[in-house]
């Protein structure tokens, strides 16, 4: 296109201003892309179908309290329950406190059933499953985690927990390949070991994860279970697993509203910055624009040239912003993914990218159109006089 030189040169006529504008656009797009992706990643947690089948029975006062294992007897009587498993957060560290990842004590047999999608049960060789259930010191780990520390089947992993003040030596019996990276940053071992080693854990579990036969039964089940234990020594609180996962997130307040209002504010800021840059860039070229029109450029051609400039400006900003966001996302997935398992799934989706590109294009067009339109319609003689 023969006008490209003119458009590019005009855009970089004031290099500093253009670069500053591109940078502020980039930062804004970066922020929006990351925030929206974070929201999307959390959303995908809550809409995961397997987790929709499950709920957690925990202590009413705090999810850090333990509850009697005997509560299982009541759960076993409920016809709507397909399977349930006991678990306890272990909080163990591997060699160094920095090596932190999610690890739980579980009831091995039922655990694999309740979390069969996450652990991808059908792909685990039956002999490994047998070993995991039979060996009291067995543990199963996700592939991502195993790769990270170079663990292989049969290796012994020492895990030190400061919560229980013990170190357990666990034999890796299963290395499973999950559906998502977040499902693989995970270690589970037999809860019996914990109950034997820690006196106050005897006959107690952290909570139960219950898998219902039908998700529509969950509200009724939760209600019935909590009512049943309402008069016992320890009351329970049954909540869906999503709600359980999101407990910590909800502590930050209504995250999604926050993300949307931040994004909105950022968009308005971008609009103002771009509109200002383009208005300035156009105003200082009044004479040049009138000269070009005298030479024979039509209003429409002038408008197109200016719009192309505005579009290019916002495209550069959004391109740079998206590139930064992608880098940050993969960094976040690697680093934060070890602390918060769900962060391992953190990616910027195509939808978010599309959203960002469309938003910046829209903003570019909108912010350029008004000054560009006015400049393109201004009487030529007036512009030539304005020196």
């Amino acid at each position: 296109m023969k006008f490209l030189t003119l458009i590019l040169r005009s855009l970089f006529r004031s290099k500093r201003r253009t670069i500053l504008t591109v940078l502020s656009l980039a930062v804004s797009v970066f922020l929006i892309a990351l925030l929206q992706s974070l929201l999307g990643t959390m959303d995908s947690l809550t809409t995961s179908t397997a987790s929709g089948m499950r709920f957690v029975v925990q202590d009413k006062a705090s999810f850090t309290n333990v509850i009697p294992q005997s509560y299982a007897n009541y759960l076993r009587q409920q016809p709507e329950i397909e399977q349930f498993t006991a678990f306890q957060w272990f909080g163990g560290e591997y060699k160094d406190p920095k090596n932190f990842f999610a690890n739980f004590a579980v009831d091995p047999e039922t655990y694999l059933q309740v979390y069969r999608e996450e652990a991808n049960l059908p792909s685990i060789p039956p002999s490994q499953v047998r070993d995991f259930i039979r060996d009291g010191n067995a543990c199963c780990v996700g592939k991502t985690l195993a790769d990270k520390y170079g663990w292989k089947l049969g290796d012994v992993v020492p895990l030190r927990s400061s919560i229980f003040n013990i170190t357990l030596r666990l034999n890796i019996r299963i290395i499973f390949k999950g559906q998502r990276n977040s499902d693989e940053m995970f270690l589970a071992f037999n809860i019996k070991q914990l109950q034997e080693a820690v006196p106050w854990m005897k006959g107690r579990v952290g909570a139960f994860t219950v898998r219902a036969k039908n998700p529509s039964d969950i509200p009724r089940l939760c209600d019935r279970i909590d009512r049943h234990f309402a008069n016992s020594a320890q009351e329970t609180l049954s909540i869906t697993e999503n709600a359980f996962n999101l407990n910590m997130i909800k502590m930050l307040g209504d995250f999604s509203t926050m993300v949307h209002s931040i994004s909105g504010a950022v968009l308005v800021a971008i609009l103002i910055v771009t509109a200002n840059t383009m208005a300035m860039a156009i105003r200082e070229r009044t004479t040049q624009i009138s000269t070009m029109r005298a030479i024979g450029f039509s209003s429409g051609q002038i408008l197109s040239l200016l719009m192309a400039e505005g579009l290019l400006l916002s495209l550069m900003g959004s391109g740079l912003g998206i590139a930064l966001a992608m880098c940050a996302a993969s960094l976040a997935a690697n680093v934060a993914g070890q602390l918060l398992p769900w962060m391992a799934d953190f990616i910027i989706t195509g939808e978010t990218l599309l959203l960002c590109v469309l938003l910046t294009l829209g903003l570019g067009l909108l912010s350029t159109f008004i000054p560009a339109y006015r400049a393109s319609r201004r009487p030529i003689t007036e512009g030539l006089r304005a020196l």
């Binding site: 030189t5 003119l6 040169r9 004479t287 040049q288």
Partner: protein
């Protein structure tokens, strides 16, 4: 005179500005014929309407009344886009402050009018080089306007005004910002364009010496054509261009 021999034909042309309901007439009852290949200097005191008249002739302003036919087109009957196309083919502009595009180099500035025509890159290049040669600036074609002297800038502007081979060249105080030597050089260049390439030229100027280069001087007084004077003792034209004729 037959219409084809007339470049500019103005009949009872008028232009007024309105300040609220108050009409401020700037030009009234202008009748003027400029033949093809004519070289007319438009003179008159400041505020007499020279620029206004030139802008009407060049099709960048609209009259309030009267008829104007320029280069064979009744400009009143063209809409804004048609008028833009007409200008891109028929008119070359030279301004007092050169008005080069600062982000384009001399070559690209001269090429600008050709971008509006349907020409290939090679053909554009051929024409740009010829125009630059005409103003003797081939060696400066990669320079940007800020790297050129005022005189050189105006020569680039002149090259830009002729590169698309227009019939009419309009120049509003083209020497107003130049020193005597550069002014003289630019005027001689215009004279060559008129004599050797047959361009019709309308030149607005304050300077009686500059007006001596034209063949006729039109005097405007308070928006009315006062008189037209033929120039007899024109200075002899030194050869600076590789013209079509011999010595």
């Amino acid at each position: 005179m037959a219409t084809g021999d007339i470049s500019v034909r103005l009949r009872n042309l008028a232009k007024s500005y309105w300040r609220g309901t108050l009409e401020i007439p700037v030009l009234t009852g202008i009748d003027l014929d400029i033949p093809r290949g004519g070289y007319y200097a438009l003179m008159g005191p400041s505020g007499s309407g020279k620029t206004t008249l030139l802008n009407l002739i060049a099709g960048i302003d609209r009259p309030s009344g009267g008829e104007l036919e320029v280069c064979g087109h009744a400009l009143n009957r063209l809409d804004d886009d048609e008028l833009a196309i007409w200008r891109s083919r028929k008119v070359g502009f030279i301004f007092q402050n050169y008005n080069l595009v600062p982000v384009l180099n001399a070559y690209e500035n001269v090429e600008l009018p050709l971008l509006l025509a349907d020409l290939g890159r090679a053909e554009r290049r051929r024409r740009v080089l010829r125009a630059l040669e005409l103003v003797n600036l081939t060696d400066r074609m990669h320079n940007y306007p800020r790297q050129l002297s005022g005189g050189q800038e105006q020569r680039v502007a002149i090259a830009r005004a002729i590169v698309h081979d227009p019939e009419l060249i309009v120049a509003d105080e083209p020497t107003g910002a130049l020193d005597a030597r550069n002014a003289e050089e630019a005027l001689i260049l215009l004279e060559h364009l008129n004599q050797e390439l047959g361009k019709t030229i309308v030149l607005v100027t304050h300077d009686p010496k500059a007006a001596q280069h034209a063949r006729f001087q039109i005097h405007l007084e308070k928006g009315v054509l006062d008189r037209t004077v033929e120039v007899h003792d024109r200075p002899e034209l030194p050869r600076i261009l590789p013209g079509p004729e011999g010595a």
